[in-house]
Symmetry: C2
Subunit: 507 residues, 2 copies
């Protein structure tokens, strides 16, 4: 049994290494690669993916899993094995099943569709022409549904799709927490809309990019970013990628007329990056040294970006330092007006521009449509109208064009149906963890005010990061908070934070 386990770990190590090689190619493409290299770069990535695929579906993996007692009924394998090894078997088993259940023809068809998808979508969005995108989207949907059938599910075809991004999560559970969330968010947003609005126009004044960059690095370093194990560069869209156990790279983009955008992207991506750098040594280099779900990953980025990074104590520390880097920029303002400005709430049409309060409503909208789509209760051609209805219901506003409505996101064009919920789940996980962290560290706020960001980082590292994928999201939430996932922590956090900002009395 030990031989089988060693061999399986060896194969896993090869897979992890080649995955990182692919990440190097991807990172370079988005940061420094000369433009005309794009043609061959996609061949290079495809070549590595082909080698990776062959390794991932190797029948030897199946044989080794069987030897170790890891089956669909009991992916954890032999009970005599140490917990970490059993968790390892569970992850390997899950990935092996997903990889081997899909016939090559289907994978190729989907790859082809989703390579055409984004440009068709971009054209349609530019021309505000949903019917131009609809035929490709229909084909993608059919292929994705076939994937769901092949993978199998108990309750809802959406379960099989969601599971790709949020392992072991079920549609029913998402519907339950989203229902709870919607019920309390809608009145909160409406109360905020009825209050005196916040002025954030001064944040759009010019702020030299090189000063933003310097301040961004100052914040990042203070957050505990290890430059010997990572970098921060610039790319068209901010992202985080892992190129090795000691090599995590963040990117941001700077807008000389939107200081918030560059800075909060750094803080957000750093949240992802700190997770990736925080796995414990005993799972180093294995498949367990990965985020356990996209929702948990997003909980880390959103905790840093919103719960910590948009908090008053955080800016009690950083505001004087920001003023120092660029005294003119904030000359007419004080900490309080700055704090209110970076926390302005306003229902808007576009998800990526949404504030912390309304953001989850954008996700619920998409979840409602996606679950109906995959159950064929809604057709692709009826999507634009369904979008407008949901938007009216959830956000109280209706897009005038599909470009700012149903066509706003790239996700469906790359076949990512079932992905959206992870964003809102991140808010919920994050707030539930944060409530526990506040409980464990009563003087958290004063630590933040003193710039001691090692205090939350160490808590997150010990309680969340270190486990990697050794615990499922469910297990992690239970272990850390003693309860199942529940939307009340997030809404309680919002109410407590926004009541003073908007002088709300009714909540």
């Amino acid at each position: 049994m030990n031989d089988a386990l060693s061999r399986l770990k060896e194969i896993d190590r090869e897979i992890q290494i080649l995955g990182h090689v692919s990440a190097v190619l991807g990172w370079d493409q988005e940061t420094y690669m000369p433009e005309r290299a794009v043609e061959e770069r996609s061949d290079q990535i495809a070549a590595i993916q082909a080698v990776l695929h062959d390794k991932r579906v190797s029948p030897e993996i199946g044989e080794l899993l069987a030897k170790l007692g890891s089956t669909s009924e009991n992916p954890l394998g032999e009970t005599s094995l140490p917990d970490t090894d059993r968790a390892f078997l569970r992850v390997v088993h899950r990935q092996f099943m997903r990889e081997t259940k899909l016939p090559k023809e289907l994978v190729m068809r989907l790859a082809k569709l989703t390579s055409v998808g984004p440009s068709r979508w971009a054209d349609a969005r530019k021309r505000d022409d949903f019917p131009h995108f609809a035929p490709v989207l229909s084909e993608i949907l059919e292929a994705v549904l076939e994937v769901a059938e092949r993978l199998g599910y108990e309750d809802h075809p959406y379960d099989a799709l969601l599971d790709d991004y949020e392992p072991w999560m079920r549609t029913k559970k998402v519907a339950q927490v989203f229902g709870q969330l919607q019920e309390r968010l809608v009145p909160l947003v409406s109360a905020i809309k009825g209050s005196q609005q916040v002025d954030d126009s001064f944040l759009m004044r010019e702020f030299p990019v090189n000063v933003q960059e310097r301040f961004g690095h100052q914040v990042l370093a203070k957050m505990g970013w290890e430059y010997s194990r990572g970098r921060l560069d610039v790319s068209a869209h901010p992202f985080t990628t892992t190129l090795g156990a000691d090599d995590v790279r963040l990117t941001t983009r700077y807008d000389s007329h939107n200081f918030k955008s560059g800075l909060f992207s750094i803080v957000h991506e750093a949240g992802h990056g700190l997770y990736e750098l925080g796995f414990s040594d005993d799972i180093r280099g294995t498949c367990l040294a990965n985020g356990t779900s996209l929702g948990i990953h997003e909980s880390q980025s959103r905790t840093w970006e919103n719960i910590i990074g948009r908090s008053l104590p955080f800016w009690r520390y950083f505001y004087p330092r920001l003023v120092e880097t660029n005294p003119e920029y904030l000359a007419q303002h004080n900490l309080d007006s700055f704090y209110r400005a970076i926390n302005k709430v306003q229902p808007s049409l576009v998800r990526v521009d949404a504030d912390e309060v309304t953001y989850s409503l954008h996700i619920i909208l998409r979840f409602n449509l996606e679950t109906r789509l995959v159950r064929r209760e809604l057709s692709v051609e009826d999507l634009p109208e369904a979008w407008r209805e949901e938007s009216r219901k959830l956000l109280g506003i209706v897009p005038e064009s599909d470009a700012t409505g149903v066509l706003q996101d790239i996700h469906w064009s790359i076949g990512a149906i079932g992905y959206f919920p992870t964003y809102a789940l991140g808010n919920l996980y994050g707030a539930q963890f944060a409530a526990k962290m506040r409980n464990d560290i009563p003087d958290l706020d004063s630590a933040l005010e003193r710039g001691e960001f090692a205090v939350p980082l160490e808590w997150l590292r010990r309680n969340i990061h270190s486990h990697g994928s050794a615990l499922t999201a469910d297990e992690l939430v239970m272990k850390v908070t003693g309860k199942e996932l529940d939307a009340s922590h997030f809404v309680d956090y919002l109410v407590k934070k926004y009541r003073p900002i908007y002088k709300l009395t009714s909540l």
Copy 2:
């Protein structure tokens, strides 16, 4: 036969692509990779090299070559095939033979020795302690000699080693041209030593790195560098690497007290890079889209660095522009004293600091020692003394320490025995091509003075770059100049250039 050729091209394409993937990993390691990532990065490179090795020794290649009539006696294969395809078969055949003749045990042993080698060498150099390095060097030499025996040779074991870097070149030919070179270089150096010396101390004054950088990019752009197909970054040691058919990356390093070092490294590396970007479309992406030998590669870098980049017409164009970027730096000097300073000749102990005239003597020294070593006419322990003797004979100076003598180069520690000659061959090839170029373009100097560097670039592209490895170095020299390689062009060029600089009358 067409099927066999197509399949062989497909395999070659996979090999080229994976080679470029490995180059991406290497480039990133030397430029942007965080320091602690080095541990896993070597695993990543090893993983790609393992996949590459399996592809390169695939028996299918041997079968396809046989089908196409490509054999050791006739690597070009069937005469009915187009010339480019026959050249393709020759390169594939040569590489397949080299890869398959070496037993895995030997490759592993050499890999292990040469992974220990550099640190042992660096320690020995730091401590000026040759005996500390000698045992490893002896083992490396034995392994390399075994490689030579396995690969086979007709005349001299050195042939088999040289061939790795300078395909189809023979020791006898190198000895002949180096003999010719030595005979004329030694009196030239001695005449220069007897003349009024050049003052270049003002080039060591402070020159801000950011200004150097701006000027370097200005020169590079003017040389015809396509930024859409390449980059220039900073690394500890300058190098050029090819990451794709449209992706060639150069690096340099800047020294705030040595303006020459950064700039001439850029011009040198750009010479390599322009070669890599100049292969014709019909060999794009194949194994023919590579330099045909390291000597020919070096001819391109040295032509740009020395023959063009250290010429008076080049600086007639750039000198006023350099003065503009940093007026203080050159305030006390004019073009003439600048030109003399960048062409100062002085026999010195260290090869990498050597000028254009004495450089080749450093190479002849190493060639003389290496050929005796591999014939066992010289033992490793006698190397330091033999080095001093050769140095006295060729350069007229003797190193006081082994650190600046026999221990100065890393090459032997990585098993690169047979590599050094390519540096001097580069000078010879370059000068022989340049003589032809001057003949073809009588007004070359006035084009350079006007900054029209497209004139030499187009000539080099058409006559040298476009062919890639479709012509061997020998064939290329013959095709371009109508003659075999000959050292006289290089010495004639040196005499013509340095006679006015050093007011030599006797030559």
